[in-house]
């Protein structure tokens, strides 16, 4: 019998080691797996490379992980925000390495990793600072940049509902990076608002098939602010 459910967020992240590369789902707070991140902070792993669209907002989630000095490198598209103060301070102090990636290249590099693609040419970023030092090629008269996949040891993502096989559905724009990050990590851990019986999710509507998900943590007893 397959049952990917793990009783607690702490148990789900227990084996994450120092130096791991971790994809964190979420666009700002939407879809960010805050319970798993809290458990990761408590667990203590450090020297982490984090892949996320942003570099933390406010004082929770990724921002709290940065504040706890567990992150040495961030791969993201948009670090600078009005409430990214923990990132800003450590970046300016030289404590954090930043790899800035155009957002679509970030998404496609993650997708490519999950899909087994070795590298791809994209027109995004051609002749810009963010393509410096990268291989280029003119294809059909248009300049392209060679980009490589981003693989991760772990992906921590948030979803709305899941079943014990790890099938997932998301909620509104909280979907964002979840489905592609789930494919790109050796171990994908999803925190879900609700675990439903096998067969309860409409197979036509499952967004992430369970093959991409390894551990599932229910947010029992917690409620999201929803309308």
């Amino acid at each position: 019998m397959i049952d990917k459910t793990v009783a607690s967020a702490a148990a789900a992240v227990a084996d994450i080691a120092d130096g791991a590369t971790i994809m964190l789902g979420g666009f700002g707070a939407a879809g960010m797996p805050s319970r798993l991140i809290d458990a990761l902070i408590a667990q203590g792993a450090g020297d982490l490379t984090i892949v996320n669209n942003n570099a933390g907002n406010g004082d929770t989630g990724l921002a709290a992980l940065i504040k706890a000095r567990r992150v040495t490198k961030i791969i993201c598209s948009f670090p600078r925000q009005v409430d990214s103060h923990h990132f800003d301070a450590q970046y300016r102090a030289g404590l954090l390495e930043l790899e800035l990636v155009p957002q679509g290249n970030l998404a496609e590099r993650i997708r490519a990793a999950g899909a087994g693609i070795g590298a791809f040419f994209t027109p995004t970023g051609y002749r810009t600072l963010l393509a410096q030092g990268k291989e280029t090629r003119v294809i059909d008269g248009r300049g392209h940049v060679l980009e490589y996949p981003i693989h991760a040891d772990y992906a921590l993502i948030g979803a709305e509902r899941g079943d014990r096989w790890g099938n997932l559905v998301y909620r509104k724009t909280a979907r964002n990076f979840g489905p592609i990050m789930a494919t790109a990590a050796r171990c994908t851990i999803a925190e879900v608002r609700e675990i439903v019986p096998l067969g309860a999710l409409d197979p036509e509507c499952i967004v992430t098939p369970g093959i991409f998900v390894h551990r599932l943590v229910p947010l029992a007893g917690t409620r999201r602010a929803t309308s």
């Binding site: 666009f27 670090p79 300016r92 957002q103 994209t122 909280a174 979907r175 964002n176 990076f177």
Partner: protein, 219 residues
């Protein structure tokens, strides 16, 4: 001379977007365009975090933290709207599926190069988001910006001095002084604010401009 207000610029952009268009409005000034889209046109707004058919900002208490736009502000979804993941969202952008995007800019060059993501200052924290994907991906790239910097220099330049976002990607420039098409022949002025002459606009802009009706450029 009566400069166009930000809302007047936004209204001019909105009026140029046809019925049935798929459109991405960049963060900042371009978000104003949504307020001026003609009610009799069905225009589908895309947000790069994974929405088509984005609707207006909901009134409290109907905000939903799981339904936000690229600026991470609460929005709504119109009937017919859809959600999708980031790789699909950027396939729409990079893949040439969006008809229009509207972006702010620091500078646009005479050849349509766009600079809008980074000042290049040593102490600036760079952030790019989806700007480079929109710049090279949308069928039409409209720029909305003030014509001049605060110190009076033209933001339309012979060559961008800020780091560029995309090469030769801008279709049309809307400013508080004029509307200018980027064409193979050069920058074609299609509209000037009342009370400003073409010669004066050309002097303020500092790069060769073309007038409609095949008159030669002036400096």
């Amino acid at each position: 001379m009566q400069r166009y207000s930000r809302d007047e610029i936004a209204a001019r952009v909105a009026n140029d977007i046809p019925d049935g268009a798929y459109v991405n409005l960049g963060i900042g000034l371009p978000t104003l365009v949504a307020n001026h889209l003609p009610a009799d046109r069905e225009i589908v707004l895309h947000s790069e975090n994974g929405v088509l058919g984005m609707g207006p900002v909901p009134a409290p208490p109907n905000e939903d933290p799981d339904l936000i736009n690229a600026s991470k502000r609460p929005v709504s979804l119109l009937p017919g709207g859809s959600y999708f993941h980031h790789a699909d969202s950027f396939a729409m952008m990079r893949g040439g599926h969006l008809d229009y995007c509207v972006l702010g800019a620091y500078q646009v060059s005479v050849e349509g190069d766009l600079a809008n993501w980074h000042t290049g200052e040593p102490d600036a924290i760079p952030a790019v988001g989806g700007a480079m994907d929109l710049a090279i991906g949308a069928k039409n790239v409209f720029v909305m910006m003030e014509h001049l910097t605060r110190t009076g220099e033209s933001k339309i330049v012979p060559r961008c001095t800020y780091p560029i976002t995309g090469v030769g990607c801008v279709t049309r420039i809307y400013t508080d002084l004029a509307v200018i098409d980027v064409t193979r022949d050069g920058l074609l002025v299609t509209d000037i604010v009342a009370g400003l002459s073409f010669a004066e606009l050309a002097r303020m802009t500092g790069v060769p401009l073309l007038r409609p009706h095949a008159e030669s450029g002036s400096t």
